[in-house]
Symmetry: C2
Subunit: 196 residues, 2 copies
């Protein structure tokens, strides 16, 4: 077999491991925690459904690619539930190293293109990356809302922590913001989210 | 909240259930069976990587959408491991009913568009649908190859059953066919696949 196809297969086999990376959120039926591969699928379908809440003229295929690929680094770096700047810096370093290792499995042209997509998502400096980052935060809230915010309750999460992470949505996808505000308010009202 | 966004959220919540639909194949680490949501993600990334083996001029975004959506019917119909024409007919009827129910959760315009994509995938009558159907068969073989064909061994699958399902790949993506032939030959050689 040609080396090129061999390398593509090696990458495609390696990324199977994303299915074993567990996130903090649980599925709507609360049977288990969500993994990062099925989460990425949910994000991509969500982007297809919610395109109309993005900036006009956005390239939806680019958004989809960003969402399908952005969590691959968790194969090495795990899914972090980080709240402090020091934790964020350390996690960030692990993710950069992971991107370099994983995308290097591909033929050089494809690896470079995927690396660029990952960097674009992380930087958030395109309309597509901004919308992808909105979707990446809206999907967990769907599960939070459906499960009585069991994840926030378990972790002793505070309203300030959540607002710090989510407030950019008010600007980047303002039509999606009211429901997010309501999810947060409901969680505070039931004591699932600590008011601070 | 506007009814439109409410309906979109209802659909996005409903499809979370695809994460609990189990397929026959196991993950490469053999820790558990694969579910249909993470499978759909793997397919979409695979299409991004293997575009060059499709017919020239293909619309890769269309392929990606077909792959992200085509398994949603399994929420109602399950993932079938069918080998007889009667089983196939019955499964097909369940899937048609499932598509009607699930896509009807969306606003009418989006539901119709998704239904059309599902029908396109099933019919296989576009270059995009043909390539999507190739990818949908190549991904399981990646897991079969990585796990010593444990799934075929467990089910007493025969070479003829597999060839009947896969032989279209020789025509639709001929460059991918040699490795598939090798996986089948290796499985026959080790007794994981029954030679008939």
């Amino acid at each position: 077999m040609a080396q090129r196809l061999y390398d593509q297969y090696r990458f495609l086999l390696e990324i199977d491991r994303l299915k074993t990376v567990l996130r903090q959120n649980v599925l709507t039926d609360q049977s288990r925690r969500e993994n990062s591969a099925e989460h990425s699928w949910h994000l991509a379908v969500m982007a297809l459904c919610l395109e109309e809440y993005a900036e006009p003229g956005i390239n939806l295929f680019a958004v989809t690619k960003l969402l399908l690929l952005h969590d691959l680094v968790e194969i090495d770096a795990g899914d972090a539930f980080v709240h402090t700047p020091a934790e964020e810096k350390s996690q960030r370093e692990r993710e950069i190293a992971a991107a370099q290792r994983i995308f290097a499995l591909l033929p050089a042209d494809q690896g470079a293109a995927f690396q660029q997509l990952w960097t674009e998502f992380e930087s958030g400096n395109s309309p597509e990356a901004r919308f992808a980052r909105v979707i990446d935060k809206v999907q967990p809230l769907l599960l939070i809302e459906a499960t009585g915010a069991v994840t926030w309750r378990k972790h002793g999460t505070t309203q300030a922590q959540i607002l710090r992470k989510l407030k950019f949505i008010a600007e980047d996808a303002p039509k999606l913001w009211p429901r997010i505000q309501r999810v947060i308010a409901d969680a505070v009202a039931t004591g699932a989210l600590i008011s601070d």
